[in-house]
């Protein structure tokens, strides 16, 4: 029997504020253990939390970008439990009155259609510390304690692992656009728990769900959900029952294992935190952030298609990271050939990014450089092959493309007399092939063009060479 999966995601996003949520400690990742700490985030007796206003700003930005309603008054609550990485034995979070609710994002499905995924709520909370398990002991690092988090909870609207991945990627893109998080899953600045259940068909009521924890990459979200889906199907097909439980995904083995059942679920004893006053937002605060809001991926995609005549696929690529779109538009401003610029970004530039593991603006090719290269091609000054050479030279030396072309004499040769001599020379050097070509063996066209290019050191203009070749062999 086949089943339909029903998936909801809880995504924890670390905000990229300078300081922590309730103290002035640095919010930097990767410092020596227990160096970004103070009496407040260490939970010493006698300290009090003071809310970092940036955290509210960032969360409201996210709420607006994710089409949420922003609550004018929201409240912090304490979530009580004991764990060595939680110094106060409670996490300051939001419970009954979260700051953002009732939002959505649209995701692209495989077949090109769009699907709307509901967002139940976004709430603010503080991160806990980290346990580093070593042989025979566990060490507590409290640098992360008090890192501001927003927890973004989706509706159970996702129906496949692929949809879940698409949702997560879209979420990451949007949050990057509004610059509230670097959303780096490897460094843990974006973490995901998945609620998965299955049901016989799309009209059946929801099945019992399992919460899958510790999913820390886009690939693993897909793997974990697919595994869990299969596991649940097997249980039901064998006549068993799904139990409500929390399961842990193991990225090494690719399986999920039970962590704790419903009966062991914590009673967190939430109650409003008496050390903090409610967050009360004024209309102007929200309006100013609406005003500030940059163009988001969906709007940018539509504009790139209408304004630059790009295909949906090209536009999707360019909006997948904010910097790509910026780079693209800067290049097109310098030389108006959007399609060619886009191709160069998707091709050569991405190849270089992968090789160098750098960002688009660190690749050594400025948008203006790239525009110049495309312009040189469009003006017939260099060939596509030469252009790749110029691209690499520019990236390595930092010189302007036209400078390189002039210095190295790479300008394309369109002189008919000179090229005719080269064509003749090539034909003379290959008498057998010449005879066969004249005899109608058309596929030798490529062979001759290649030889001519080689003889001209790649500088021959193919548009001029082709008719010459035809003339001299007919």
């Amino acid at each position: 029997m086949s089943y339909e999966p029903v998936i909801g995601l809880e995504v924890h996003v670390q905000m990229s504020t300078d300081s922590k949520i309730f103290c002035t400690c640095s919010n930097k990742f990767g410092s020596e253990p227990n160096t970004n700490v103070c009496p407040v985030c260490l939970g010493m007796p006698g300290v009090l939390p003071v809310l970092n206003e940036k955290v509210v700003e960032y969360t409201v930005k996210a709420g607006l970008a994710l089409n949420c309603q922003i609550r004018k008054k929201s409240v912090f609550a304490r979530k009580n439990y004991f764990y060595p990485d939680l110094p106060k034995a409670y996490q300051i979070s939001q419970y009954e009155l979260p700051i953002c609710e009732h939002g959505y994002i649209d995701i692209e499905l495989e077949d090109g259609t769009q699907k709307r995924i509901g967002i139940t709520r976004i709430h603010i909370e503080e991160d806990a510390g980290k346990l580093n398990h070593e042989a025979g002991c566990s060490l507590v690092d409290l640098n992360r304690t008090g890192t501001p988090l927003m927890e973004i909870v989706s509706e159970p609207d996702l129906r496949s692992a692929e949809e879940a991945k698409a949702y997560l990627m879209k979420l990451k893109t949007i949050l990057e656009y509004i610059e509230v998080s670097d959303c780096n899953m490897e460094e843990g600045s974006m973490r995901c728990d998945a609620n998965v259940s299955i049901r016989p068909d799309s009209n059946a009521p929801f099945g019992t769900r399992a919460e899958i924890k510790n999913v820390n990459s886009f690939r693993n979200v897909e793997r974990a959900i697919k595994y869990e889906q299969k596991r649940q199907e097997k249980v039901l097909n064998e006549g068993g029952k799904i139990v409500q439980e929390t399961r842990l995904f193991n990225a090494d083995t690719g399986i999920t294992a039970s962590m704790r059942g419903k009966e062991d679920a914590h009673d967190y004893r939430y109650f409003p935190d008496p050390d903090l006053v409610p967050i009360v937002l004024e209309d102007k605060f929200i309006d100013d952030l609406k005003e500030w809001m940059p163009e988001l991926p969906d709007a940018k995609r539509a504009r790139f298609m209408s304004e630059y005549g790009l295909s949906g696929m090209d536009a999707d690529f360019l909006v997948s990271a904010k910097a790509y779109g910026q780079y693209f538009e800067q290049a097109v401003k310098a030389h108006n050939n959007p399609k060619a610029v886009c191709n160069w970004i998707m091709g050569e530039l991405m190849r270089r990014l992968n090789d160098k593991q750098c960002t688009i603006f660190e690749a050594g090719i400025s948008p203006e450089n790239l525009a110049e290269i495309v312009k040189l091609i469009d003006e017939g000054k260099i060939s596509g092959n030469i252009a790749k050479q110029v691209f690499d030279e520019t990236a390595e030396t930092g010189k302007n493309p036209s400078e390189i072309v002039a210095e190295k004499g790479l300008v394309q040769n369109s002189n008919e007399d000179e090229l005719e001599a080269i064509v003749k020379q090539v034909l003379d050097a290959n008498p057998a092939e010449t005879e066969r070509f004249k005899g109608g063996e058309v596929k030798l066209q490529g062979f001759f063009m290649g030889q001519i290019m080689k003889a001209s050191k790649g500088k021959a203009n193919p548009a001029v060479v082709a008719p010459l070749l035809k003339k001299l062999t007919s």
């Binding site: 939970g43 003071v50 004991f82 110094p87 106060k88 034995a89 004893r269 050390d275």
Partner: protein, 483 residues
């Protein structure tokens, strides 16, 4: 040196009638002489004499000094003073020395005060007799077989015994006013939000407030003028202007309306206490005040409400004492055992009782019936005060139902102990200000306190009312034998 107000001490130091070192040594000597019996000090700052000498040197050089430079004082052991132990009189905090400065201690330091040490209290401020303290169970200077009250029992006793010029205490449900009453001194619980809680080890965050405990009204007003300051480090601190409360002390109270709530004179109030308080009311009448009988109908629910809200908050606030980062840690084979054992061995019975109670009222299935219900009743109790203050300027009533009781008398009966605070608890639920001052002596010769309750940020008016009575009553503030 004994019996001088802070203002007089400051003047005497400036006139070089005596040095700060002499004054400090005087108090250190008194602590050595009397504290074995009174048991008020958890910690004595031996370095204070050097700090006093340093002030004297500056004074000799003619440096500009803050107004109270070189005057020693002491702090309840849950108020953070950087680099001095802060134990809350609990085993679980033994060895904890805070590496940071609390706001109240900083403001006192800025005003020139020197810290003699830390004063005993009921463990984590939970108790009304100072008997839940892990080590020093403070006794009443008027009769050391009796308790000083609590939880700021060490603060009250040290002031009454002249072991310090004044002390800071904290009040969650009466912990400044009740011991002040039992020890015959003046204690003020400021309006919630008046004094920063940064550096106050929390019992119940929505109720706790630091306040001055002094041997006279003018000192009390002077200290609140120093520590009553908005603090960005406390989100519940209110951004109202700092005031000089001594300016209110005119003694002119003519025409003020004082409410007498019948619920605060209920059955449990001892007849000698009642008589003393009635005399105080008559005195106010004589000074031209209008005495108005009022009713605060929800008073009977205050103790129950308080013991739900305060314990709920405490159960969470005290979670951090887990043996991992500071204080006492029990040896154990694994993490869970270490948590259990550290807390089982580190906390005393009363603290455990309240943690359990608080955990219970916040638990799934009970939250609405207890915690939410208590919050609703809290609103009704607040409304009682709001209604009352539409009719009157202040409320007068007994602070404690009885004078100081014998040590051991109520330890086996927590409910009896909780009723010691029956007249003080409602004010914390409301959040206004309240003051207890001596108004006579009971049949047993022990001090009786009268309480004045005021609306939010109306400390100035309370001080003036108290000052008018103090000037007229002229009661002895210290046991004869300790002079």
């Amino acid at each position: 040196m004994l019996g001088k107000t802070l203002k007089e001490l400051s003047e005497a130091l400036n006139k070089k009638e005596f040095s700060s070192a002499e004054l400090t040594q005087f108090y250190l000597d008194r602590i050595r002489k009397y504290d074995d019996d009174i048991c008020a000090f958890n910690y004595i700052n031996e370095n204070v004499i050097n700090q006093a000498k340093a002030v004297d040197e500056k004074r000799a050089k003619g440096d500009t000094l803050p107004v109270y430079a070189g005057i020693p004082m002491a702090l309840k052991d849950l108020i953070i003073q950087k680099d001095m132990p802060a134990t809350c009189s609990s085993k679980i905090l033994e060895g904890f020395v805070p590496p940071f400065q609390g706001t109240a201690a900083q403001l006192l330091e800025d005003a020139g005060f020197l810290c003699l040490g830390k004063l005993s209290m009921d463990e984590f401020a939970m108790g009304s007799s100072n008997e839940t303290a892990y080590r020093k169970k403070t006794r009443n200077p008027w009769d050391t077989s009796r308790v000083p009250g609590g939880s700021s029992g060490g603060s009250a006793a040290s002031v009454a015994a002249g072991l310090t010029t004044f002390a800071l205490g904290s009040d969650t449900g009466g912990s400044i006013r009740q011991p002040a009453s039992l020890c015959g001194i003046t204690g003020l619980k400021p309006t919630y939000g008046r004094v920063s809680r940064f550096g106050l080890i929390a019992f119940a965050s929505s109720l706790d407030q630091i306040g001055p405990m002094t041997s006279n009204i003018s000192d009390n007003a002077a200290i609140l003028s120093v520590i009553g300051k908005y603090d960005k480090k406390d989100s519940t601190s209110l951004n109202v202007a700092q005031e000089d409360y001594t300016k209110y002390l005119t003694g002119d109270v003519k025409g003020m309306k004082i409410g007498v709530p019948k619920e605060y004179f209920a059955e449990g109030i001892a007849s000698d206490v009642r008589e003393c308080v009635n005399n105080a009311i008559k005195a106010y009448e004589g000074m031209g005040c209008e005495i108005v009988e009022i009713s605060m109908p929800h008073t009977e629910y205050a103790v129950a409400t308080y013991y739900i809200i305060a314990t709920a908050e405490a159960s969470s606030n005290l979670g951090r004492y887990d043996g991992i980062r500071f204080g006492f840690r029990a040896e154990a084979d694994n993490l869970k055992e270490m948590f259990y054992e550290s807390r089982s061995q580190g906390f005393g019975d009363e603290v455990k009782r309240r943690i359990m109670l608080g955990t219970y009222v916040l638990s799934a299935g009970y939250y609405d019936a207890y915690y939410i219900k208590a919050q609703k009743v809290r609103t009704l109790i607040k409304q009682d005060f709001v209604n009352a203050f539409e009719k009157v300027d202040a409320i007068i009533c007994p602070t404690s139902p009885t004078t100081a009781f014998k040590a051991g008398e109520k330890m086996s009966d927590p409910l009896q102990m909780y009723l010691s605070d029956i007249n003080t608890i409602s004010l914390n639920l409301y959040g206004g200000c309240g003051l207890s001052m001596p108004c006579g002596f009971g049949a047993d010769g022990m001090p009786v306190g009268v309480q004045l309750l005021g609306k939010y940020f109306d400390e100035g008016r309370l001080y003036n009312l108290a000052y008018a009575f103090e000037q007229q009553a002229k009661l002895p503030v210290m046991p004869e034998k300790l002079k």
